[in-house]
């Protein structure tokens, strides 16, 4: 079983503004990444972010954010009637959204690798 990632919210005191800013700054990439393989509806996206990345996004925040991503042409939405249950609005990446997600992921990978190199001495000292 794959271990679940630590939730960013519990990893440090909530008053730590730096952590809050990092988390906020990564939500757009996280949403685009969650949609990379398949279309999802709002609640599925929220759960994917929480379970897959430890990103707990307030529920009332994700819908206006999805609305913005749609206005920017990064995602498209479609109402899908369920056989049992009720209709749900699914989101999928557009071609522009895939390009944006790929560009953001490249930046994130390079940035975190560089930062990791800078952090290596700190980790070594903490291990001692």
């Amino acid at each position: 079983m794959t271990p679940k990632p630590a939730r960013a919210e519990t990893a440090a005191p909530p008053a730590d503004n730096w952590e809050v800013q990092v988390r906020k700054g990564s939500i757009e990439l996280a949403i685009l990444a969650a949609l990379w393989k398949e279309r999802l509806y709002g609640l599925e996206i929220l759960r994917r972010l929480a379970d897959g990345a430890g990103l707990v996004v307030p529920e009332g925040t994700v819908y206006p954010l999805l609305s913005r991503l749609r206005s920017e042409g990064l995602v498209e939405s479609e109402w899908v009637e369920a056989e049992a249950g009720h209709p749900r609005k699914y989101y999928a990446l557009t071609r522009g959204g895939r390009q944006r997600a790929a560009a953001m992921a490249r930046f994130w990978t390079a940035f975190s690798a560089n930062l990791d190199a800078l952090l290596a001495p700190l980790r070594e000292e903490e291990r001692r």
Partner: protein, 198 residues
Amino acid sequence: MSTGNEERAGVEAYLAALRSGLRGLREEQVRDIVEEIRSHVRDAAGGSDPARVAAALERLGSARELAARYLAEDLALRAEASRTPWLIVRSTVAWAKVSVGGAVAAFGCVVGFGLAACFAFCGLAKPLNPARVGLWRLADADRSLSLHLGLGAPPAGTELLGWWMVPVGLAAGAALFLLTSWFGLARLRALRRRLPSR
């Protein structure tokens, strides 16, 4: 104890408040948003258990705040597309309802565009009312400056610019207009990239 009917009434009341807060968006947009939130509540509650429905609504935050966020996003997009002062101010005022950063941006835009309008007005009105329009150094203890728009008697003190008020007023008005537009749009872009910390 609440019944299923009461919980349904709670959901409908929430959606009615949301719909009311979304006034200003296109009817088609409003319907789409309301139906998506209805669908979310059903999924998040996972049935009609009253406590779970109430918890799902609570996690969404107040309908007023949710509507304000949709409106703020929509107005920011329109302001960025049109770049008109009216939409920039309206958009920052909408953001002021959902964040402190929005309130700062709204204050800056109202002051900036207000000053731009005053300077431009003085530049244009000086030839029509030269004795009362202009920039005065007041004869008070602080020797403070006063931009007089021509309403009422001119203040006691020394007029500083004379006919230079025309080019200076127009140039300062244009510069403040451009600066405030740049500030407002930059703040809107930054606000849209942020999420509330709730």
